[in-house]
């Protein structure tokens, strides 16, 4: 009997060892290029985390930030504006090269000293306080910031500071020892990192194949091969699960959930996506200069009703620009945005609104789940208080168009701090202001300074509350809700989106996915 048990156990173990684990994901969209530095789209974020590492990781299964060693094993401030990091020895890139301090210095400096607009934009909106990185020895680097930085670990965890192999990037185009813009472009078609999956095949807009990187420094990848295929039609994505062509399908709208629940072979996993769907207002449009008009546009929208009708109540309607992931800086007590049609009518009358048309730019083709339905409902809500709204389908970004009045947009949480969500878009001289549809004054800038570089939580909270009060009085935007994003999968898969990630990350690292034994 004992022998039989051992034999059975051995057979089982062997079968488990030789059984190849392949996974196919039917994705609603696919990137045209892969460079974690300049990209901050909701499409690219799906993939990077499987193939790249930051210097400092965190426990992504937790809402709060618990930092853990990544490509750096220890880090400490050596002066108020300088951090020294010890690098993990023996880390291997997908191309076989061993990571050194040179790669780290290169990867940090390419972003914080960027000289090409697509990278400069990212540097300005989140890494502007970083100055440069320097090598101390082969496994030690120092990173210098301009002013004391309260968010060191948070920022070193960013996708923009994932570590790339310097020699490989430089060798791609032109002079093999110099960095040219062409090098990045070649890199974005054949990316190489240190993560558990190497990019084995990438067909832009169509397909991405990751294969286990045997030289990975951490927990081995649980999958031999993961293939992500672009399947734009949601019915086809769900069907692919039934035919066995895919095991996970992304971008499942709430109205599909009943279908999945009714299917004995399928299940859905979802969570509140760490971003807001927002409406942005052009405060400099001649018709919208009067803040009372914009406040009325905002007060007229019944966001709870949108949530009930479009999201089955699964979305979250925020009272302010705040998220639970902000930790100590989460401020649910603030009421910055609310529904008050009476007040909206009063403000419109006071401002002398004469019935002029308010255009509502909607991305075309549809970009955000439920965006077109929400737009139509909002037109009705506006009409109910006397606002003459009109939807305008726009294929291009109109956020920098002086004619733009209101537009759909999302405001993701790029990192777990109000700076990483609110700040990335609404800081003084940030992208919203540089596009000319939003202004900050000296008072706001002072509050921003206290919030951004404040040394105590209380100081930062007080400053953030002040900025929110300004947004209530003179709103350049309205967060509609945190959408609820679902993925469908076959029942044998144990996987769910993890709350510590930025939106839409498909995390297939060790511990993140497993399979139910039959």
């Amino acid at each position: 009997m004992k022998h039989l048990l051992i034999a059975t156990a051995l057979t089982g173990a062997l079968a488990g060892a030789v059984q190849a684990r392949d996974l196919t994901v039917a994705a609603g969209n696919m990137s045209s290029y892969l460079d974690p530095g300049c990209d901050h789209s909701n499409v690219g974020s799906q993939f990077y985390y499987n193939s790249f590492d930051p210097l400092i990781h965190k426990d992504y299964s937790k809402v709060e930030q618990v930092f853990v060693p990544g490509l750096a094993t220890e880090w400490a401030l050596v002066s108020p504006t300088t951090m020294e990091l010890k690098l993990r020895p023996g880390v291997q890139f997908h191309n076989g090269a061993t990571m050194t301090a040179d790669d780290v210095v290169f990867s940090v400096n390419r972003m914080v000293q960027a000289d090409f607009p697509p990278y400069q934009v990212r540097m300005r909106d989140r890494l502007a306080n970083f100055d440069h990185a320097e090598k101390v020895d082969d496994l030690t680097v120092r990173i210098h910031v301009k002013r004391e930085e309260p968010l060191w670990e948070t920022l070193l965890n960013l996708q923009q500071l994932f570590i790339l192999p310097e020699a490989y990037v430089k060798s791609l185009k032109g002079d093999p020892n110099a960095l040219e813009h062409d090098d990045y472009e070649a890199f974005s078609l054949a990316p190489v990192g240190t993560g558990p999956y190497r990019v084995a095949e990438f067909v832009p807009g169509q397909k991405l194949v990751g294969e286990r990187h045997d030289g990975f420094w951490g927990d081995a990848a649980p999958l031999d091969r993961v293939t992500v295929v672009n399947v734009p039609e949601v019915a086809s994505r769900l069907t692919a699960l039934r035919t066995g062509e895919a095991q996970i399908a992304t971008n499942i709208a709430p109205d599909q959930l009943a279908l999945i629940d009714a299917d004995p072979g399928l299940k859905a996993e979802g969570m509140l996506t760490p971003l807001f769907h927002v409406n942005i207002f052009n405060v400099n449009h001649p018709r919208l200069k009067d803040a009372r008009i914009r406040r009325a546009l905002s007060l007229a929208i019944d966001r709870d009703l949108l949530n009930e009708a479009l999201w089955l109540g699964k979305a979250h309607v925020p009272a302010s620009h705040t998220m639970v992931e902000f930790g100590d800086l989460y401020m649910p007590e603030l009421t910055t945005f609310r529904y008050d049609p009476e007040e909206a009518r009063r403000l419109l009358a006071e401002a002398g609104y004469d019935g002029f048309e308010v255009t509502y730019d909607l991305h075309s083709p549809s970009y955000y789940t439920n965006d077109a339905l929400a737009a139509q409902a909002i037109m009705e809500m506006w009409a109910a208080v006397g606002i003459n709204g009109k939807i305008s389908a726009e294929p291009k970004w109109t956020g920098n168009d002086p004619e733009m009045m209101v537009r759909t947009r999302s405001n993701p949480r790029y990192f777990a701090d109000p700076f990483g969500s609110f700040g990335v878009m609404w800081a003084p001289n940030g992208p919203s202001e540089s596009e000319g549809r939003y202004n900050t004054d000296a008072g706001f800038a002072a509050a921003w300074e206290r919030f951004r570089f404040g040394t105590t939580v209380a100081e930062r909270k007080e400053a953030y509350a002040e900025m929110m009060a300004r947004f209530e009085q003179d709103p350049p935007m309205l967060p509609l809700y945190r959408p609820y994003a679902s993925l469908a999968m076959t029942k044998d898969i144990n996987w769910k989106p993890q709350p510590g990630h930025i939106p839409y990350v498909l995390d297939f690292r060790g511990g993140a996915i497993s399979f139910a034994s039959n």
């Binding site: 909106d125 067909v203 035919t243």
Partner: protein, 333 residues
């Protein structure tokens, strides 16, 4: 016949030049890729840097000449979005589209045409009516409804057919069925028109066996209409890349690429893609014209019509033949 071939070739060259020029101008009239690809958060200075980087600051005629030179040296530039050679991107997409077209034409020829003939010949029997009802639905139901219906039936419920991409022969079944569905009804109508003609009655009255009359006199004449319709439909499919079918079946074809590059104003891809598709349409039209010339002797004599643009008139009565029909493929008068 040589004359017809020459005229066709000349018209082809002219069409091609006009298309190349139009494509170039139209893509540039509607916006800059800087706004579409990298629009967000750029300062005015950033925009200028990118415009220079993408060489969009060069005069229009200079860009136009560079585009034309591409046709002689094969250098069509890089995609603004993917930054890889445009020819490579388009080639990657056009082959799956062509495969689908070829499959659809083959099915039409092998299945739809015989079925169309049966439906026409046995139009009064249940078999003919059944085929007709099927063909009518194929024609009347929009592509996207038929495509989703097939997916739900054969993949979602029955689990018989794959739905994702173009990996195996099984992947071809449903998209091919959608694309060839519409052609069957045209075949049936063409046959019906022909069956009602006097010369068919005459041939039958002469005592020829029915199957010979149908195949030689009937199909011989109906063939002309069928050719025109198949040619037209094919050209349409090549031009639109059957965007809907590609979306439903995740087919990596040219349609999705063209739509996406139009939205992003990815000039190099859009220009070259549209020109490549135009070329395919022109070639299909030319082949249709030539086939038409083979099928219809009148074309060889320089009637100078564009057969794929207008449906042919009913067979003319020739003065030389008195009241008898024009000898097309039937016996001489």
């Amino acid at each position: 016949m040589l004359n017809l071939a020459l005229r066709t070739l000349l018209r082809m060259a002219l069409t091609f030049f006009v298309i190349v020029t139009l494509v170039f101008l139209v893509t540039r009239l509607t916006g800059s890729p800087v706004d579409f690809v990298l629009g967000e958060g750029l300062t005015a200075e950033d925009r200028q840097i990118l415009i220079r980087y993408y060489a969009l600051d060069r005069p229009l005629w200079d860009q136009y000449m560079a585009f034309l030179r591409g046709f002689t040296d094969g250098e069509f530039g890089l995609s603004f979005v993917e930054r890889r050679p445009v020819a490579q991107i388009v080639a990657e997409r056009i082959w799956p589209s062509l495969q689908l077209l070829i499959a659809a034409v083959s099915v039409t020829l092998v299945v739809a045409i015989p079925l169309g003939i049966f439906a026409a010949v046995w139009r009064d029997r249940w078999f003919g009516s059944a085929v007709m009802v099927l063909a009518f639905f194929g024609y009347a139901i929009p592509d996207f409804v038929l495509a989703v219906f097939l997916v739900l039936t054969f993949s979602y419920w029955l689990n018989w057919l794959p739905v994702m991409g173009n990996g195996t022969a099984l992947h071809f079944l449903m998209p091919t069925a959608v694309l060839s569905a519409a052609l069957m009804r045209f075949t049936r109508n063409a046959m019906l028109d022909v069956l009602g003609q006097d010369y068919m009655r005459t041939a039958l009255a002469k005592g020829l066996p029915e199957h010979r009359v149908i195949l030689r006199h009937g199909l011989g004449n109906a063939w002309i209409t069928i050719l025109s319709v198949v040619g037209l439909k094919l050209a349409g499919l090549a031009a639109s890349g059957s965007v809907v079918v590609e979306a439903v079946f995740s087919w990596p074809g040219i349609g999705e690429l063209l739509v996406r590059s139009a939205i992003q104003r990815d000039y190099p891809v859009l220009q070259f893609g549209v020109v490549a598709v135009a070329l395919a349409v022109i070639v299909i039209n030319m082949l249709t014209d030539l086939a038409y010339g083979l099928a219809d002797p009148r074309m060889r004599q320089g009637a100078g019509r564009c057969p794929s643009c207008t449906p042919p008139p009913p067979p003319a009565r020739s003065a030389a033949c008195g009241t008898r029909p024009m000898p097309c493929s039937g016996p001489p008068c």
